[in-house]
Amino acid sequence: MSMNGDRPYTADEMMAVEASRRLTDDNVCFVGIGLPSLAANLARRTHAPGCTLVYESGTIGSKPARLPLSIGDGELAETADAVVSVPEMFAYWLQGRRIDVGFLGAAQIDRHGNLNSTVIGPYDAPSVRLPGGGGAPEIALGVDDVFVMLRQSKRTFVDELDFTTSLGDNVRVVVTDLGILEPRPSEDGTVELTLTSVHPGASADEARAATGWDLRVADDLAETEPPTENELTALRALETKGRS
């Protein structure tokens, strides 16, 4: 985890905090492992205690005391309101449109929020075989709002994906280590991911330099609110709480 200049929090912490802020008390949220899980659990410990966490392993309403290490962590089942089978999770709950927010990560993203988590290089002869889409293709279209969390670099923010794993139609925000991208219509009417906020210490130029396409910057570019003391305390309590 890289330090963030002389700021008292890391880039990952900024990402998790900013993503957590976008969750509300009423959200039912499909969560993956890593930063999304950190963000969603942080929301539950700060401003959105009623936010419901759903993991694709079948746990509904999990309230983990510590951060899960896998999406099938025992803690998630033990603290859940309900545990259902994986076929039921995808059929009744995701496809049934019972979940409104989904977090996704990827190896590559394009300006439309399409994601690649399948291969780098040609599909039949990849230079890197990535793990694959997992739940992403149906999450991307089965929730109202997709939140993407992804560190920004020319390698990840690309002009053209090597493979389109999931579509960007419902991507509402991309939280990176440098700032926040949101879909905005441009003069020519096309909608594309636009830098709407930079994190403290980062700049629009830095973000443009870390993007493989000509990144649009919003006229009303904001600076992200840094993590509050309260947010950082809650976040670190989650991170450091080990297995009992």
């Binding site: 025992g74 089978s85 059929a91 496809q95 997992g134 739940g135 992403a136 293709p137």
Partner: protein, 283 residues
């Protein structure tokens, strides 16, 4: 009904079979996978939503011709190096991929369990996957809407791990249940490894019970889900997943590890003894 795992694998798993060893982060049937490796099964089509360490081992040891899957990685750690090596470099042999989404895999298992030839879902819309996998379109005869259809999974053998069986071979598992019920019911034959045999299965919350008459063989394999966990028995061995990244990165290191811990051991007890022995030596 209750037989040694080596007998069950010898009888029920043949070269060229389609085999699904399922477990969604919990109750992964690793001991059964190791027995496939010991008995040198070849040309298998391996099916699994989330192939992880034990599939990496099966692939690296040359058991598999094809993989049908939706997410193949080392959860929380990164890549499966043996899977990547097979796909990227054809070592030890090329691996054909049939890639789906989780939703598609789950629908395919459910269809198989229900003895239907295909599953229907809202999925595989757009993107590059549909052109690369087995998916088709069905039209709703009432609304005209187009939906995705996936061919049902009907493995030759379904393999799962559970916490308990009773003496008649009825099986109970609890906690995160993944697609294990569907795997057994979709398969022509099935092997269930269990942590232990008990006199009576005590009804529990979030339990899946499979009656003996849908199972081909029940085998005792304590700690048989390592490095995953078995709720009520042991925790996930998170360090093992991290360590696997190093072991599996290099072909020779991998082969030597498999020799020591799988090929040179007789069963799951031997496997665990060899891990303990290595830790002791290292310490």
């Amino acid at each position: 009904m209750i037989v040694p795992l080596s007998d069950a694998v010898a009888e029920h798993v043949h070269d060229g079979d389609v085999v699904a060893l399922e477990g969604f982060t919990h109750l992964i049937p690793s001991a059964a996978g190791h027995e496939l490796i010991r008995q040198e099964r070849r040309d298998l089509t391996l099916v699994r939503m989330t192939p992880d360490v034990v599939y990496d081992q099966l692939i690296g040891m040359g058991c598999a011709r094809k993989l049908v899957f939706s997410w193949g990685g080392n959860p929380g750690v990164g890549s499966l190096h043996r899977l990547r090596d097979a796909v990227e470099k054809g070592w030890p042999q090329p691996l054909e991929l049939e890639e789906h989404s989780h939703a598609g895999m789950a629908a395919a298992y459910a269809a198989g369990a229900a003895n239907l030839p295909f599953g229907v879902l809202r999925g595989y819309r757009g993107g590059d996957l549909p052109a690369r996998t087995r998916v088709a379109t069905v039209v709703c005869p009432f609304t005209g809407e187009e939906l995705a259809a996936v061919p049902a999974h009907r493995p030759d053998v379904g393999v799962i791990h559970a916490q308990q069986a009773d003496r008649r071979g009825n099986v109970q598992l609890w906690g995160i249940a993944g697609v294990q019920k569907e795997t057994v019911l979709a398969s022509k034959r099935s092997i269930v490894t269990v942590e232990e045999i008990v006199d009576e299965l005590e009804p529990r919350p979030d339990a899946v019970v499979l009656p003996a008459w849908v199972i081909s063989a029940v085998c005792v394999a304590p700690r048989g889900a390592h490095p995953s966990y078995a709720a009520g028995y042991y925790d996930r061995d998170n360090e093992f997943y991290v360590a696997w990244d190093t072991v599996s990165r290099d072909r020779e290191t991998f082969l030597a590890w498999m020799q020591r811990h799988v090929l040179d051991t007789a069963d799951v007890d031997g496997y665990h003894a060899s891990l303990v022995a290595e830790e002791t030596t290292a310490a």
